[in-house]
C-alpha cells in the first residue's frame, strides 16, 4: 500500500498532478494554499467582501474544473491569479464600481489627454464599503490603494503582497513587461504622493 501523502509539504506542481488524478484531498490543498491570497487580491479590487468571496469562489471553480488543462510550464499560482484577475475585472466592468479611474486613461501622455479621459465622479467608494470593508480597508494605505486604477492596484499587490517578479506579473496579467514596470512605478509614486502627509 502506498504511504500517505504529505500534501502540505509538496510543491504546487505535485499537488496539481494529484488533483489531475482525481484526488479530492489535492483539490482541497490547493484551495487551502490560495484561498487567502486570491480572496485578498479580489477583495482589494472590488472592495466588497461578499462579492469578493463569490468571485474568488468562481475563480477556484473555474480553475479546478479545468485542472486537466493546466500546463506545467506555467506556475499554478500565476494561472489562478490570472483567472481571478479576469473575473474581478469583468465584475468591475459590469458593475462600474468606484474602482474606475478618476485620473484618466493609463495611455494618456499629455495633460489634455488625461483631462479628456478623466472621470468627474463623486466619491462613492465610502458608500460602497460595507461596515466590514470600512474596518478592514479603512487604513490610510488601504484607502490609497483603493484609489489606484485597477490595473495599477493589481500590479502593486502582486509585486509587494504576493512577492511576484515583474515577469510573473506580466505573464499573469497578460501585459508586456514594460507596461508592468510602468504601472508599478506609477502606482508607487501615486501612493507615495497620497501618503505624503503621513511623513510630515
Amino acid at each position: 500500500m502506498a504511504p500517505p501523502l504529505d500534501l502540505p509539504n509538496l510543491p504546487d506542481a505535485d499537488v496539481v498532478a494529484l488533483a489531475q488524478k482525481g484526488k479530492e484531498a489535492a483539490f482541497r490543498e490547493l484551495i487551502r494554499r490560495y484561498e487567502r491570497p486570491v480572496f485578498s487580491l479580489i477583495y482589494r479590487m472590488v472592495r466588497d467582501s461578499t462579492a469578493a468571496e463569490d468571485l474568488a469562489q468562481d475563480a477556484f471553480i473555474k480553475v479546478l474544473n479545468h485542472i486537466d488543462k493546466y500546463r506545467p510550464e506555467f506556475k499554478f499560482s500565476s494561472w489562478l491569479f490570472k483567472i481571478a484577475n479576469n473575473i474581478a475585472i469583468d465584475h468591475l466592468r459590469r458593475r462600474q464600481l468606484d474602482t474606475i479611474s478618476i485620473d484618466g486613461s493609463p495611455h494618456a501622455t499629455t495633460a489634455s489627454d488625461i483631462a479628456a479621459t478623466s472621470f468627474d465622479i463623486a466619491d462613492s467608494s465610502e458608500n460602497a464599503l460595507d461596515e466590514l470593508a470600512a474596518r478592514e480597508l479603512g487604513s490610510e494605505i488601504e484607502q490609497a490603494i483603493g484609489k489606484l486604477r485597477p490595473e495599477y492596484r493589481n500590479c502593486i499587490m502582486l509585486r509587494h503582497v504576493e512577492g511576484r517578479s515583474y515577469e510573473e506579473i506580466a505573464a499573469t496579467l497578460d501585459l508586456p513587461l514594460g507596461t508592468v514596470k510602468t504601472y508599478i512605478h506609477r502606482a508607487r509614486h501615486q501612493l507615495r504622493d497620497a501618503l505624503e502627509h503621513l511623513r510630515e
Binding site: 482525481g22 487567502r36 480572496f39 477583495y43 467582501s49 469562489q57 479546478l64 503582497v161 508599478i184
Partner: protein
Amino acid sequence: MNHRHLLPNEIDLLVDGESGFGVTPLRAHVAECDDCRTRFEALRELTGTIETLPHFTPNIRFSDRVMKQVQVIEPWHVAVTDTVRRVVPSNGPMRVAAGAGVAAVGLLVSSGAVWLAFRADLATWVLNVAVDSSRRALLAGAGEVAAQALGTDGAAALTSGGPPVLALSAAVLAVVVVGAILGFRRLAAVARTTRV
C-alpha cells in the same frame, strides 16, 4: 560625487533590490546624495508598508462551497492502477506468491481456451445443449404463468395456436398493461388538480 540626481526608474531599481554592474554606481550616489537618499528611503518605506498588508480570510466554509461545485473525476487508468495497487500485497514474498497465483490462473484459462479452440465441434455441442435447456426452461415457465392466468384450457389453446397466437396474445397483454398505466397516471393527475 556624481551630481546628476537619480531618475525615478533608477530609484525603482534600487527599491526592487536589483543587483549588477549598473546598479553599483546608483547605490554609491544614494550613499552620498541626501536628496536622492530621501526619495529612495521614502519609496522603500512605502513598499515595506505595502508588504506588511495582511491577507484577508474568506468564510470558513469557503473550501466546502467550492468543492460542492468542483467535479472530481478520477481518470480510468488511474482508477485501474489504484485498484491493482490495493490488491497487490506490499510484502515482497506475498507479492511473489500472488504473482505466481495470477500466472497459474492465467495459464489455466489460456490452456482451456486453446483446448476448446481445437475442439470446436465439442464446444458447439455444449453450446447447443445449454441453449436448448434454457429455451425449454423458459417455455415451461411461460406455460405455467399462462396456465395460472388463463386456466389450463386457455394455456392449451394458446400452445396449440402456435407462434402467431402467442405473439398476438403478447401484444394484447402489452396493450392492456400500457393502457392500465396511462389510466392510473391520468387518474392521479386529475386527483392532484382537484386537490389544488
